[in-house]
């Protein structure tokens, strides 16, 4: 339509015979116009993103290379430039900065390592349950499972503080079964430590109390998430699995029923149908959920800020919270910015790694073929 109007007074209907050559001639012109128009259309977004995302990110990158103390602008000649010192402090120099950073990395590794698989599995399970046509009151369950995700994370965190208080609901419940619940938010011992303690091993083995990479003893790396961290993990799994359930549900409803029926006709068991039909068709969603899960859990901040502020004994310190604390509490803006860029790199690398792991390979086709074969075999057998 735009070309018609651009053609001006020429009535396209009258000029019909000459149309084919003119069109080809015009196409080039329109295309170049399209490019310009395209840029113009996206210009507002580019400007907004550039102004409010790219520019601040570049500014932060600059700050991470300086020793800016938060007085006045960081872009003057008076701000001392320290090169990569802020980064090397985090990795190679023995000191409090490295110790805090490595502790936060350890905490977050355990956090991601537990939260991502558990929430993905739970979300998939919930989606399968809710997708079941035999289930009554599906709407109700869908809403109930999704509900924690739409509630404010701060509000939920505060409620959890009450639930996990020493005389709170969880410990009362445990007391009913004669279990003396832990002091959830005051207990800095690692779970692994506790488990070994239950087996009678109270002192860490001598070989593990020293050495270890990056200034943290092996025992510190290996003792597992603290009890306090576990309660935050429980909270996060509960709140986020609803969102991911919704994604899985949407994907499940895209799986053609014919495939499922074909599997049934071929005599595949319920487990086989799940393993070889449903899961492979969920692969893109699985990647989305895992990627979002990893990104979100490396960036965990609000729960920590509300519930524990890194306590007890730094066992709930995470890089995102540490970055905030270093910059805005200790006025070491350079170091804080450096932490956030390292976090950014970690997330990028992990997401790329995930993409590589979950890429579409021949194996997908092979799996399907295997499914067909095994389906056929069972069919033959029956």
């Amino acid at each position: 339509m735009a070309t018609d109007v651009l053609a001006g007074p020429d009535d396209p209907r009258r000029a019909a015979p000459a149309e084919p050559p003119r069109r080809t001639r015009r196409r080039g012109g329109t295309r170049s116009g399209e490019t310009a128009a395209g840029w113009l259309f996206v210009a507002p977004v580019i400007v907004i993103l550039g102004l409010f995302m790219l520019l601040p990110i570049l500014m932060a990158l600059w700050v991470s290379l300086t020793d800016w103390n938060g007085q006045g602008s960081p872009f003057t000649s008076r701000v001392p430039l320290v090169g990569l010192d802020n980064y090397t402090d985090l990795f190679t120099r023995d000191g409090l900065a490295r110790q805090n950073f490595m502790t936060s990395i350890r905490n977050n590794l355990y956090y991601v390592g537990i939260v991502v698989p558990v929430q993905t599995a739970l979300a998939l399970f919930l989606a399968l349950v809710v997708n079941n046509r035999m289930l009554r009151g599906r709407g109700f369950f869908r809403a109930a499972f999704y509900f924690p995700s739409v509630t404010s994370s701060v509000a939920i965190s505060v409620v959890f503080l009450f639930i996990f208080a020493n005389a709170g609901a969880v410990n009362r419940l445990l007391a009913l079964f004669g279990i003396d619940g832990p002091q959830w938010f005051a207990d800095s011992r690692g779970v692994l430590h506790l488990l070994l303690g239950a087996l009678g091993m109270d002192e860490p083995p001598r070989a593990l109390t020293s050495g270890g990479p990056f200034g943290l003893a092996w025992w510190d790396w290996l003792s597992g998430p603290s009890v306090a961290m576990c309660s935050i993990i429980i909270l996060v799994v509960w709140t986020t699995s609803g969102t991911f359930m919704l994604m899985f549900l949407a994907a499940l409803q895209q799986v053609p029923e014919t495939l499922e029926e074909a599997g049934k006709l071929d005599g595949a068991t319920r487990w086989q149908r799940l393993r070889f039909i449903t899961l492979p068709s969920l692969r893109p969603t699985m990647f989305l959920v895992l990627a979002l899960g990893v990104i979100g859990s490396w960036q965990v901040f609000d729960q920590i800020y509300v519930m524990s502020q890194g306590d007890p004994a730094k066992t709930t310190l995470t890089p995102a919270y540490l970055s905030y604390r270093t910059a805005f509490r200790d006025f070491e803006y350079g170091s804080g910015a450096a932490i956030s860029f390292v976090l950014f790199l970690i997330i990028i690398l992990l997401t790329l790694g995930q993409r590589w792991l979950l890429r579409e390979r021949d194996s997908g086709r092979r799996l399907r073929r295997r499914a067909d074969r095994s389906g056929a075999e069972t069919g033959r057998r029956s």
């Binding site: 128009a37 520019l55 006045g72 409090l96 306590d311 004994a313 509490r329």
Partner: protein
């Protein structure tokens, strides 16, 4: 129609690009070195970290009456999070003219040149308690006027005390007596002491044994000393024997709450506990006593805040006048009555003890109190020390002090 649209879009795009470039490089990040003093009526911006409604109201009223008497205007803003808001304001080059500066944070601000050292210009700066002046002195210069202060003392729950068969004679004045009394309480099934798990409480024991984290001038790390070790070992023995408990173990947010709920017979808190108990636990009966003395005599910790004036303020002269009005004896006494703080002037001492005789132990503490560590970049070091103290009951005090020593040395050097 489309042609017109294209033209418009082009204009918009060019405008947006221009905006981006101007924002990126046009605004002139190089700021002027010094802002000049402006005379005439001032519009003072005052940022306070208020303890609550009562304090906000009292400061607002005081500021309003100063403003109307002097012909200036003064806007008091209570901060949600003073450290963060102040940090952003300083980074944005638009700090408030006058703001609260906590003694624990003072060195951070003073060392980066955010504060105007106006102590010399104050009329009678010598009247402030010496320990409070030290807390706000750096390189021999008094930077700002302390607005009030608090010290730690021992609170004793009267009901639990008599229930356990103890009398006033049992109120401990030394560490040995404290241990003996605590054992008696424990034998009756009462948790003897609720104590906060930070250096701001446990540090008092270090003082009573003659130790501290830094040297008096704040230049040397003195964490790893036999005095400190002995003090921490004493606290550790209290914890492992069950004579003292941290608030979290008593299911309380802070020691005062545990004390108010009757979970412990004694606690070590500052004079803020008065207001807190009145609000939350009005029925608790208690008495206040000086902290038990250690082997090296009496020791307590003081906490104070000063009226900082921004080095970049345009109204420094007026701001100093404002601070003088705020720290006058009458004004401090009215603050004391309004929200229960202790005046920072020695001249107000008698008036205060007459009005609040129960607070004698707190006021007397000013004589032998130790202020917070007065050195920059120590906050994360001390936070790390707190982390160690949280696990003191099963940790190694010697290793902890060595760690603090190492980190303090690094912080003081850098």
């Amino acid at each position: 129609m489309a042609r017109r649209f294209l033209r418009r879009a082009t204009v918009a795009g060019i405008a947006a690009t221009a905006l981006l470039t101007s924002a990126a490089c046009g605004s002139g990040f190089d700021d002027d070195a010094e802002s000049s003093q402006t005379s005439g009526p001032a519009a003072l911006q005052i940022l306070i970290g208020s303890s609550g409604e009562a304090e906000t109201k009292a400061v607002q009223e005081a500021a309003a009456s100063w403003a109307s008497a002097s012909g200036n205007t003064a806007t008091v803003t209570p901060a949600q999070d003073l450290v963060q808001q102040l940090g952003q304001a300083l980074a944005g080059d638009a700090p408030p003219d006058v703001f609260y500066v906590d003694a624990g944070r003072f060195a951070d601000y003073a060392s980066v040149g955010a504060l105007e050292p106006y102590g010399d210009k104050l009329a009678d700066a010598g009247d402030f308690y010496p320990s409070l002046r030290t807390a706000f002195t750096r390189d021999g210069k008094l930077y700002c006027a302390p607005k009030d202060f608090s010290t730690l003392a021992l609170q004793v729950n009267t009901d639990l005390w008599t229930k356990a068969g103890l009398t006033d004679a049992d109120i401990p004045t030394t560490w040995d007596q404290f241990t003996a009394t605590a054992r008696k309480l424990k034998a009756k099934g009462v948790t003897p002491l609720a104590i906060g798990d930070t250096r701001d409480r446990i540090g008092a024991f270090m003082r009573q044994n003659g130790g501290w984290i830094t040297s008096p001038d704040g230049k040397q790390a003195t964490a790893d000393t036999p005095e400190n070790l002995q003090a921490l070992q004493y606290v550790k023995s209290l914890l492992t024997e069950g004579l003292a408990r941290y608030p979290k173990q008593l299911d309380a947010g802070w020691a005062g709450e545990a004390f108010g709920k009757g979970s412990a017979a004694m606690t070590i808190e500052g004079n803020w506990i008065k207001g807190a108990l009145q609000n939350d636990f009005p029925n608790v009966k208690y008495t206040v006593h000086p902290l038990p003395a250690g082997p090296k005599g009496q020791g307590t910790l003081s906490f104070t805040t000063c009226w900082g004036i921004a080095a970049k303020s345009k109204f420094k002269d007026q701001a100093i006048k404002f601070v003088e009005a705020m720290v006058s004896v009458e004004q401090q006494m009215s603050f004391a009555k309004g929200f229960g703080v202790m005046p920072s002037r020695q001249a107000a001492r008698d008036q205060y003890t007459q009005a609040f005789p129960a607070d004698k132990a707190f006021v007397d503490g000013a004589e032998y109190a130790q202020g917070p560590v007065n050195a920059p970049k120590m906050d994360s070091v001390l936070a790390d020390f707190d982390t160690g103290l949280q696990g003191l009951d099963r940790g190694d005090p010697k290793a902890l002090l060595e760690r603090v020593q190492k980190n303090t040395q690094a912080a003081l050097a850098g």
